[in-house]
């Protein structure tokens, strides 16, 4: 090699170095080795995720912290400081069209730790994706779209936590897909998963209470089968409407081949919608759900065989401008209206209405320095009747909270 050739080679190498130095190193992807090749003793140190600069692995989450001062019938709990939840979100692209998504939730300072969601998604077609793992059943809108910073209210809707179990997740498989055409979008989800157990009618609440099933960790290993499905239709101008269903047998009807009871079903049907009014930019979202349960005849009427309830949020942005150092800060005035009836129907003996219902109204003012973070002040006024429809117990008070993605 002559000196001239050598100089040229060095120039090429240097110029390549300069070009590479201008490219964001996060964009450069290392070719992954086939982990099946190699010695067993190296396997622990040679995993695909031990790879600096792997793209895209995302790590994030959100947290919520509140102060509240509520009183029921004049009796107050005093000042309450609540670190409601910290959620860690980890996702990665395993390979082309194969993704991993997960959400781990720590509630009440770590007293409750749950894998809310952990799935492997395989995209076969935009309209046909296979999902397996701990899935979030698509009932109503709130169960899946529950992230604290997205809402203007510190509390989750009562109908979505005390009637439907919020963040209900089960082990299962399913298919989902979406189709976009101009201003329209159609989406569907359908899953077969583990499901509810008899605790929904045998629990410390002494009423039909679906969230009791969340206490049963066995549902990630065994249990009854639950079918859940949702269809959603969205128009960019008019908003989105969703119709969802979940249902299945909830009781232990057979043990070791011995029939214990007939198969008793639980069926839940929900409708949800959201829209933004033109000009005013008022955002309106809500859902309503109906629950039907086959309660054994030997149970008293305090265990309802029908429940219904829902909520509507009205969010009006009143200020959108630079505030302090935040260029796109927003101040919203909002109101949430809620209703839940845990026991729909009339007493057999008297034909009088079975109580066990609640309504609540919650005005709010919220400040969003960015879309990721919300500081919100809510006032709750709720009215809950017992089963005999005695004069209701009234709860009222202020809640101040901050919730943010990180």
């Amino acid at each position: 090699m002559s000196l001239k050739q050598l100089q040229f080679l060095i120039f090429i190498l240097l110029s390549n170095g300069i070009v590479l130095a201008q490219i964001d190193s996060a964009l450069l992807k290392k070719v992954q080795q086939d982990t099946a090749i190699g010695m067993n003793m190296d396997a622990v140190y040679n995993r695909p995720f031990i790879d600096v600069g792997k793209f895209p692995v995302s790590l994030g989450g959100y947290m919520e912290v509140n102060w509240q001062h509520l009183g029921t019938d004049g009796i107050s709990e005093g000042h309450q400081f609540q670190a409601r939840r910290l959620t860690l979100f980890v996702a990665s692209s395993i390979s082309k069209k194969i993704k991993f998504l997960s959400e781990i939730e720590f509630e009440e300072g770590g007293k409750e730790i749950a894998i809310e969601f952990a799935s492997i998604d395989v995209e076969l077609l935009p309209l046909l994706n296979l999902r397996g793992g701990i899935i979030m059943n698509p009932i109503g809108a709130f169960n899946q779209n529950h992230d604290g910073p997205k809402w203007e209210f510190t509390d989750r809707p009562i109908s979505a936590t005390q009637m439907l179990p919020a963040t209900l997740s089960n082990a299962g498989f399913g298919l989902y897909g979406k189709y976009y055409s101009k201003d329209w979008m159609f989406g569907y989800e359908t899953y077969l998963s583990s499901g509810f157990d008899s605790s929904i009618i045998s629990n410390p609440e002494n009423k039909t209470f679906l969230p009791a099933s969340k206490e049963n960790a066995e549902r990630f290993e065994e249990g009854n089968t639950l079918f859940s499905a949702k269809i959603g239709l969205l128009n960019n101008s008019y908003g989105e409407i969703g119709v969802s269903y979940m249902g299945g047998v909830y009781n232990t009807f057979e043990e070791d081949g011995i029939v214990l009871d007939k198969k008793r079903r639980l069926d839940v049907f929900a409708v949800d919608f959201n829209t933004t009014l033109p000009k005013l930019n008022t955002f309106i979202t809500g859902e309503w759900a109906w629950v039907k349960i086959d309660v054994p005849a030997t149970f008293t009427q305090q265990f309802g065989n029908k429940q219904q309830g829902g909520f509507i949020d009205i969010v009006q942005p009143v200020l959108k401008r630079k505030i302090l150092d935040w260029d796109k800060a927003v101040v919203n005035l909002s109101c949430r209206l809620e209703y839940v009836d845990w026991n729909v129907g009339k007493f057999n003996e008297t034909n009088g209405n079975i109580g066990e219902d609640l309504w609540s109204i919650m005005p709010a003012i919220s400040f969003r320095p960015t879309q990721q973070t919300v500081i919100r002040l809510n006032y709750r006024y709720s009215n809950q009747k017992d089963i005999l429809s005695n004069p209701p117990s009234k709860t009222a008070g202020f809640i101040l909270g901050i919730s943010s993605y990180f």
């Binding site: 995302s58 993704k99 993605y405």
Partner: protein
């Protein structure tokens, strides 16, 4: 123009549905020019210039 298919919210890879891009994690949506159309993401996607050279599409990462 080429788009980096990485959500500007928490970095999850986006999914393509027709001419829209959606994040499977928290539901942010982007138009086919990279503009954010639905939060929680608040900024548009990273873009790269492209050139078509002799029937080859070249994306500049610079």
């Amino acid at each position: 123009m080429a788009l980096l298919m990485r959500c500007t919210h928490q970095g999850t890879e986006l999914q393509v549905f027709g001419d829209k891009l959606q994040c499977p994690a928290h539901g942010s949506k982007f138009a086919n020019n990279g503009d954010v159309t639905n939060g929680p993401a608040s900024s548009g996607l990273r873009t790269f210039p492209i050139v078509i050279d002799n029937q080859q599409l070249k994306v500049s990462l610079k």
